[in-house]
Amino acid sequence: MKQLSRAAVLWQLAAFFATLAPHLSWLPFWLIALAIITPGIRLMIYSGRWPLPHWSVKLVLVLAVIGGLLLTFTRETGMAATVSLLIAGLALKMIEIYHRRDALVLLYVSLFVSGTAFLFHQSILMALYALFNLVLIIAALNSIYQDPLRNDWLRPLKRSLRLLGFALPLMLVLFIVFPRIGPLWSVPMNQNAARSGLSDQMAPGDISRLTRSNDLAFRATFDGAVPPPQQRYWRSMVYGNYDGRTWSRVSRGDQFRLADVELISDATPLAYEVVFEASNNPWLVALDQPSAAPAGSFLTKGNAPLRYRPVDRRISYQSSALLDYRLQPDLTDFDREIYLQLPEGSDPRSRELAERWRQESGTDDAAIVRRAFELFNAEFTYTLTPPQLSGDRVDAFLFDSRQGFCGHFAGALTFLLRSAGIPARVVAGYQGGEWNEREAYLTVRQYDAHAWVEYWQQDEGWIRVDPTAAVAPERVSQQADQLFADDPAFLADTPMARLQFGNAWMLDIRRQIDALNFSWNRWVLNYQGQQMQLLKDLLGEVNLTRLALLFIVPFVLVMALVAWIQLGGRRRPRDPLERALERLLDGFAKRGYRRESRESIQAFSKRMASDFPSMAGELRALANCDEAVRYAARPDGRKALLAAIKACYRALKTIKAPA
């Protein structure tokens, strides 16, 4: 068993703390305390102030830790519990790092734990930190194989950097080429990290919370021109049910009986790609109207994309949209029944109003919609802080409070249209987004969440109308952040966010960072979404031969470079004198005159002078200069010596080497 040197023990400490650091944000407090105390115990033992702990002490510690873990993670068995267990193990191991084997266990587990840190944080900074952490761990690993008597701190670090420097290109090649396959088994995801976006039901009042968050919802890039703000309706869910209080999706049983989606369009599909943030919900977004479901999802009967599994991590997918379309030109009786459904006897005043409009407009459904818009436009206020509603909520909104946000307007309009006998439904999703000119992508945040209405017309199908636009047209044509810049309620939860809108250069920086983050998300975190396209771009055609070449060629190149540098020796700055002299002696050797071991430069020069009388002068000068520098303690003669060597070499070159 090899004992660890002092330097090695301290490197282990450094690696341990560096590995611990990214987990501090979520680890239970007692575990952090343990991780600080145990290295302290180790140091006390190390300095001889404390004796080695008795086995019973260790046992008590282990039992205490297991008890603590069981108490802290009572029900969860997810990654958080696993990582906590590993960290607890590391912390306990710190007490007894004596031998090489102990250090190996510590470092290997540290490597795994540093990998699990990516489940909690995936930012660029985190990646850079992980790289730094890896440098420390590899240095620590090297330190246990160093000469124990050598107390050189930098040596392991240098070795670590040298190893990592060459491993990076190999990593890149593997990263690009390695096939990404789906999860082998489903894993419970840590709930802390997820944030809810839209909800699968809408009771006006709920959605206000969303509008206040500037969390990222998703980003999108387009294969063609970006659609104008008025067309950026990202549908996510369709609410067909209303129970007098809450709008929700059509029940599962009814979903099956609804007719299949029929989408008719002559327009060219607009292809785009979405990088969707983790939401822990299965619904995705699709620009009106999606013609096909993104991979891993399907389109509901309301033509909204729904994923088979919740989005528990950031994903990316491709889709395409038809901006000009006819959706469901015919409606089955069942569909009609569903989309006309209203709760029995609720909101009498609203029903009365709708029936009045129906009588006044005759069969012109569009006129009824216009009437509603006129009403909203004339007497309603758009606000993020509407009063609470109760009882007949639609009546209360339409006739009493007369202020609200998109949810109120969309719900009320759908109610009115259904009361007037027009099939209608609420569509929830996002509207708008911030266009980043530099990187050509659209950022949509949670405050862009929106709800609008679709009503059905024979032969025309579902028609999108946005009642909010009638009240506050800017809401649709402008970005939410510009629209609500003066509203104190907007972004009230995130005071720092407000600063970002303060001045132009701040905004510019924010955009740049945002752009960087977007590239990071797209090319690194969601590389599986880009892999096929990238490989196609790189290889032209993806087949096994080319893929193998793409892997092998850079791999071999890198390895050859490593071998060249590692085996060719370190590039120590060599004495130019020695180098020149070596070249000269090689020159003589090529001509069959080899210096013998016993011959000094002087003796050799003398011998050569008799064999090459033409260069006797140069040789004599060489002998004298060399003697002066090498033996006569006249180091100022180095320049002259170099000149003499070079003169000799020039003279030698005029003499032909024998064939």
Binding site: S597, R598, S600, Y631, A633
Partner: protein, 310 residues
Amino acid sequence: MADSLLRGVEEASRSLEKVLLGKQQQIRLALTCLLSQGHLLIEDLPGMGKTTLAHGLARVLGLEDQRVQFTSDMLPADIIGVSVFEPSSGEFRFHAGPVFCQLLLADEINRTTPKTQSALLEAMEEGQVTADGHSYRLPKPFFVIATQNPVTQFGTFPLPESQLDRFLMRISLGYPAPEVERQLLLGGDTRSMLDSLPRSLTPNDLLDIQQHCSQVHASSSVIDYLQRLIQFTRDSELFSYGVSPRGGLALLRSARTWAWLDGRTHLVPEDIQQVLEPVIGHRIRPAEEIGSHAGKRLVNELLAQVDVLG
């Protein structure tokens, strides 16, 4: 000052060459040895001019010399001297032996017993002799030039390694070259010329020269080379044991003197190479018996294996 000393040495060297024809290299080595304050061992067959060289050296260096022919029945007292009781004064008086001189020529040192040998060698090492509990200092400078017959000769007590180490150099004269031999035969005995050799240096000059020699600069390149040579004798399996630290110092001291005799104030590798065989030849031993001239062959191997430039 240094120049006049150097001229004196050159003159001495020329004078010696007149009595010892064709032995320029050996004369120079012998001078180097004495100027380095070291004792000299000359190993050769009888009649090769060992005694002539020793006498000549004493003469030109202006040293008071004594010659002792070593025999198997010789006692330590014969060299060191004896305390004799004087009835007239009723006291013991120390009668100094031949060792009390500036240059002792110990002829055929390996013909005497180890006991007597070690008595002499102790005097060489310590610069003093002990008799009857009293220590007597030897004069300064004090040199020993010992001659010995090749070990293979009959009736010899070879010097042990520990005592060989006390000689700075071991040289052999060898047969003269044919043309020199002819000259020798024609010119008659050169021994008679010994007494007419001029004194070129004084004992004080020798001390001054030693001072100068010790100031010859040895660069780190030369020291490195020297060290590699010594290390090789210790590590290589050609040698059963290598050069001792004292041997290394002896090598450096001799090389410095050689460089000074060349008129240089710094050492070059050639200086070491020139004195290498005489200085370490008797301090090393081949791992396996490789016959005569083992020392020379080993040294050649050593020079071929150790690169001057490192």
